[in-house]
Point group: C2
Chain length 287, copies 2
């Protein structure tokens, strides 16, 4: 997906949010906003949003002198995800189509902004998410490809959400699949890192790969031309690719292989691209 | 009210909206965004939002070569307001406290973004607005000051909304008040102009004054140091001042005279300043 003009105010809003997570110093918040605005005057709209987001967050990290502004919010999300896990697992076990329920929960995990809600709210949000209208029209295709696949490349998104992924990973492992779970090598927004995957115990279910785009090249979502040889190789040869969240959709929607996207649509430009609505929980294949 | 860092992404979002109303040329939209970002890097946060909004919209007008980007949206709002008027008037007549109902409707008129909804929706929105929780704790003070007042200065906000003002103006005229209704002399966003007040027939109820801040100095909301001698004189000597909308609140909340604000709270910074919540319909006195 290309970047749209609407992404500009969104980048600026997120810059302020990130700067505030990194420091309480309002002068630094102002410096961040001004430098980000200066940078955005020179960008190309041919680049995808995750690539521009990388540039914006590199500025934020440099000015705030914080390599990981979202650290505290990420840790809180993980703890919340961990506390919810057994309840979520029961949902999967009790369902007659446990694979579909695990997929739904993996998508629902993408709806929740853990950082901003308390534990009671989260329970409510999950119950509401499960009542919501899922677009799982690609589920038959998902099952067909899954049946024919041995190796699965699973691209993670956020902390907290990784506990929801774990449910689906377990289902896949139970039916004999071998999974590579890809997290980010370097901090970017609230995306999950190696340490988060380990915290969730995902290293016991899958091989963890860190998507290493190099220093200051961390992108929220996968940007192919920053990816390592190792990643590109797996992306090419693995039988099936599952990608979580909007960032991965923005980075990979035009790529030349079949990818199954599990996401909550959070922006009307992505909604337009997928031909759906904001707030929709979607399992979508790009081909 | 001072400008906050959160106002920055909001200004940029509005710039894109205004540029799109002025032209379909995407290159010009991009030019507008970039020039606005360039300008915002040099602003002082001591200035109030309406003052900075003036600067931003002057850039938009210059680059799009449109002196009135919201013209079509404004005209549509007026037509919608006009079509609703008799129904609104019935609400006032049927209520046992017709003054309070007229005040509530004048506030409700500020909730509706006419440009974005069809006629059926507007009826629904008004019904919902009337069911909503008004903060009219300043109503006793409003009535007391009204009883002691002969001349009232009434600062208008948007087109369409002016038909809701008309209901309140009628109530005030019926009890013998003399009103000066202040609109903008030059186009700024969707604020009402002289021609709009005439379209609504308000010139038959009140003396219309155009708040003339000079060329390219039109502000959404009143900024005292741009105001004419004539306006400042009336602001000082009139017995009572009623001001509509957030822009007037932002510009006048700190001013050294009693002002009655009728507004819908649309931004959490204003909500914080008033000590209320976003979405609240408020009659508020600044003293």
């Amino acid at each position: 997906m290309k970047t749209h003009l609407e992404c500009i105010p969104c980048f600026i809003k997120q810059s302020l949010e990130a700067a505030r997570m990194a420091t309480d110093n309002e002068k630094i918040h102002e410096m961040v906003l001004k430098e980000v605005m200066s940078h955005l005057q020179g960008i190309s709209f041919e680049d995808s949003p995750p690539e521009l987001s990388r540039e914006v967050h590199a500025i934020i990290k440099r000015i705030t002198k914080s390599n990981d502004p979202y650290k505290q919010a990420k840790d809180e999300s993980n703890i919340m995800g961990k506390n919810l896990y057994s309840r979520l697992e029961k949902h999967v076990k009790d369902d007659k189509d446990s694979l579909l329920m695990a997929i739904k929960l993996a998508i629902a995990g993408n709806v929740i902004d853990f950082g901003t809600m308390n534990r009671l709210n989260v329970n409510e949000v999950i119950d509401n998410a499960l009542k919501r209208d899922f677009d799982v029209s690609s589920y038959p295709r998902f099952k067909k490809v899954l049946d024919q696949s041995k190796n699965i490349l699973y691209l993670a998104d956020n902390t907290g959400e990784i506990f929801f992924d774990k449910l689906l990973l377990k289902e896949l492992v139970n039916i004999g699949k071998e999974i590579t779970y890809v997290v980010k090598a370097n901090p970017i927004i609230n995306d999950a890192l190696l340490e988060d995957a380990k915290f969730a115990g995902i290293d016991k279910l899958a091989t963890i790969m860190a998507y290493d785009a190099g220093h200051d090249k961390s992108t929220p979502g996968t940007v192919m031309h920053y990816a390592s040889e190792e990643f590109l190789d797996r992306f090419k040869v693995d039988d099936m690719v599952i990608a979580k969240g909007q960032g991965n959709y923005e980075g990979l929607s035009d790529v030349d292989r079949e990818v199954f996207f599990l996401l909550v649509v959070k922006c009307h430009l992505v909604a337009q691209d997928i031909d759906t609505k904001v707030g929709k929980l979607v399992l979508k294949v790009n081909k």
